[in-house]
Amino acid sequence: MSKIDKKTLIIRAVALLIVIMIAAAMFVIGRGHTIYFDNKSFEAGGETIETPYSIEVYVKGEKVAKLKAGERGKADIMGQSLAMQLVVTQEKGGASTKMNVKLPIPYNMDGVIINIPVMLAGKTPADYMTEFIPAPPSDDDEDVSVTEDAGELMEFEQ
């Protein structure tokens, strides 16, 4: 009797552990970030980094942005690292170079701004990565209606 109990107990504990592990894994692989790509010049300590003529950003083979100087693009990604392909054209009409870049993204940032020219110049992440703080949504004082006992009947699956 007690032996069977012990066995089921172990099975249950293992099952629980597996579920918790899956949950933990989901936290890591499912973390979503919004990445904002910038093509902006950079000045610090007398050093200047010029912007290339244009940068095309591909994520998962899909073109998410084509950035002229000073422009910004955006992509939603999932997971802890960003793998992207950049096509950089230095001069108008000039030859372009392709490169693959893989970057780790800090877990606690929802939105991350990456200034690509600075990154390409080989600076530290602290220089080219900044957290994107969204403007607080307009406080239109949304009217919270506590629903009646069962809510709006007519608004089902429009």
Binding site: A23, M26, G30, H33, D110, P136, P137, D139, E142, F156
Partner: protein
């Protein structure tokens, strides 16, 4: 003899037949193209099937239509709200939301099962009131405790006043991620393959479950409580398990449902889900004490065709768009009413017959 069988068939399938008729009349009037209709129905099939399947187990255990499946729906919503705030996206977000919802729905199911054990013989009305009661608790949690007690970080979810969740929470980050996981479309009809696979798996689980010891016990309990008790089945426990299972499935089903919808109406998404799922199941030819997987799918097709077609047809016929809206709500309620009445009259007829037989036997002695 043959005539008798035909009338029997008609009375058994009267509700589905009536719906076939309604759909057949309304569909051409509505002027909706067949390809649009088929697309809609396939989408709704993926969206609702899991939820409706969760109703089958309590019916098996003789506890009638589980109006408190909304409890699971609420647990699913809580899971999704939290996951949204943690910014876990896509399929992993859904899985995490399910993992969070499961203990909550299991607890709620346990509560529900315990209460229903105290109210044997009036399970349905009790489960119906439970859904309202827990809705109050849900609102307490979501409207007042999310923020100060349960941390909510993002202002896109939190109300400007600093606590409570907004009326709608966007699920853009996981919208139709499951449906589109395996993209497939046949002749312009988009088919949510991955969702169908999950639904199919649940069907298999239900078929398998019926054959297990627990499933057999449940059916015995459903047939006759006293007999099952005499046979040594722990009736109360079996009933509680059936409620827990149903609630957990409903929670998972709600997450699948909402990923298709793409947003949560925080305070109303769950409230009508029970009613519409039950109506759909009954339209498929199920009754309060008997329901099969086939009923679920037939029900979805018929009920949702009516649901799509009726407002349009109503607008065309009367020139007022509200008539059709009210009509479909009326039909949903009427179907449930008719099914309940048929169930109760059948039950009485059976009891009377049993009583007569008993009396006759006694006379013979």
């Amino acid at each position: 003899m043959k005539n008798f069988k035909l009338s029997d068939f008609v009375s058994r399938f009267s509700v589905p037949l009536m719906f076939v008729l309604i759909c057949a009349v309304c569909a051409p009037i509505s002027g909706l193209s067949p390809s649009y209709l088929i697309n809609e129905i396939v989408t709704r099939m993926g969206r609702n099937a899991f939820l409706i399947l969760s109703l089958l187990i309590p019916i098996m255990a003789g506890m009638g239509l589980n109006f408190s499946m909304t409890l699971g729906a609420m647990a699913g919503e809580i899971g999704l709200i939290l996951v949204c705030d943690w910014q876990i996206v896509g399929i992993p977000g859904m899985i995490l939301a399910m993992i969070i919802s499961i203990p909550i729905s299991a607890l709620l199911g346990l509560f529900c099962g315990k209460v229903l054990n105290m109210a044997k013989g009036r399970e349905m009305i009790t489960s119906y009131i439970i859904s309202f009661f827990i809705n109050g608790i849900y609102q307490l949690v979501v409207l007042y405790m999310m923020g100060p007690v349960i941390p909510i970080k993002h202002s896109s979810i939190k109300l400007p006043r600093g606590y409570g969740v907004r009326n709608t929470v966007s699920l853009l980050s996981m919208r139709q991620k499951l449906d589109n996981l395996i993209p497939l479309s046949i002749a312009g009809v988009k088919i949510p393959v991955a969702t169908f696979i999950i639904v199919f798996l649940l069907c298999l689980v239900i078929v398998w479950f019926r054959k297990t010891k627990l499933g057999q016990d449940m059916r015995a309990v459903g047939q006759d409580l006293e007999v099952a008790k005499d046979a040594g089945i722990d009736v109360e426990r079996t009933r509680i398990i059936s409620m827990v299972l149903s609630t957990v499935f409903a929670g998972v089903g709600m997450i699948i449902y909402l990923q298709n919808m793409g947003n949560i109406a925080t305070y109303s998404s769950h409230s009508q889900i029970g009613m519409f799922c039950i109506a759909a199941l009954l339209v498929g030819g199920a009754s309060v004490d008997k329901a099969s997987i086939g009923n679920v799918f037939l029900g979805i097709v018929l009920f949702h065709t009516m649901f799509i077609v009726a407002p349009k047809a109503g607008t065309v016929i009367t020139g007022d768009s509200m008539i059709g809206e009210y009509f479909r709500v009326f039909v949903s309620y009427a179907v449930i009413t008719v099914a309940l009445i048929m169930y109760e009259t059948n039950k009485r007829r059976k009891m009377n017959k049993a009583g007569e037989r008993l009396a006759m036997e006694q006379e013979e002695e």
